[in-house]
Symmetry: C2
């Protein structure tokens, strides 16, 4: 859908570990990072729904599994199963789009590389029941 | 020591998880993020020694435990035990400083928010034995 992009990212095995890319300033659609923060998501916990008016959400899941769900319209949803054992990449959600997420069986870790500083007044929330999506 | 800064970061419990800050563009010493990548570090694995000539290393450990060791001189070392159950914060290492790191008993995950794009020619490596540090 318009305003939602998934960019696959590279993982490189190294001695004693792994390098997992997250973003580069020469990548298509790169936006300046003004705030970076992690969200630890408990197993099966749901955080929905949210819509930003200014922030472009730019998330990578380096640990576990987190399902992001984007509302295309009131009845149509797009799902992204993010995580190293699922789709490893960066999901970009432009302002104005409702989304939510749910931790997988073992939970997960989300990194958001946001293009603005956190400001509560630029985000709307809606109750889980606002959309007819079965979490 | 000069050129090495540890900045404690906030962790905020939320319903179904936790928000763990990583960086903000209005923080003291903030540098533009040109590349962000994770390094997964296996249990007890050592990655040392490395020195950048241009990159400022800016690391946060959101999972597990990773010990960063900075060489103050040939015989003096500064240790930073990073991780949510240890010191949670951002360690900034300016160019020109030798450092290395080791995964804790359960390994760990490092996020580096680098101020330049990765370029192998701006980093030196040295063998583990180069410094008299007991890992």
């Amino acid at each position: 859908m318009d305003g939602v992009t998934f960019t696959p990212l590279e993982r490189i095995r190294t001695g004693g570990g792994e390098v997992m890319k997250a973003t580069r300033s020469d990548a298509a659609g790169f936006a300046e990072v003004h705030e970076a923060y992690f969200s630890r998501v408990d197993p099966d916990a749901v955080r929905a729904w949210k819509r930003h008016s200014e922030m472009t959400v730019n998330v990578v899941v380096p640990v576990g599994h987190v399902r992001f769900v984007v509302a295309v319209d009131d009845e149509t949803f797009q799902e992204f199963d993010l995580g190293p054992e699922h789709d490893y990449g960066r999901l970009t959600i432009e302002p104005g789009i409702w989304f939510g997420f749910k931790g997988g069986e073992e939970g997960g870790l989300v990194l958001n590389l946001a293009n603005i500083l956190h400001r509560p007044d630029e985000a709307d929330g809606a109750e889980l029941e606002h959309f007819d999506y079965i979490w």
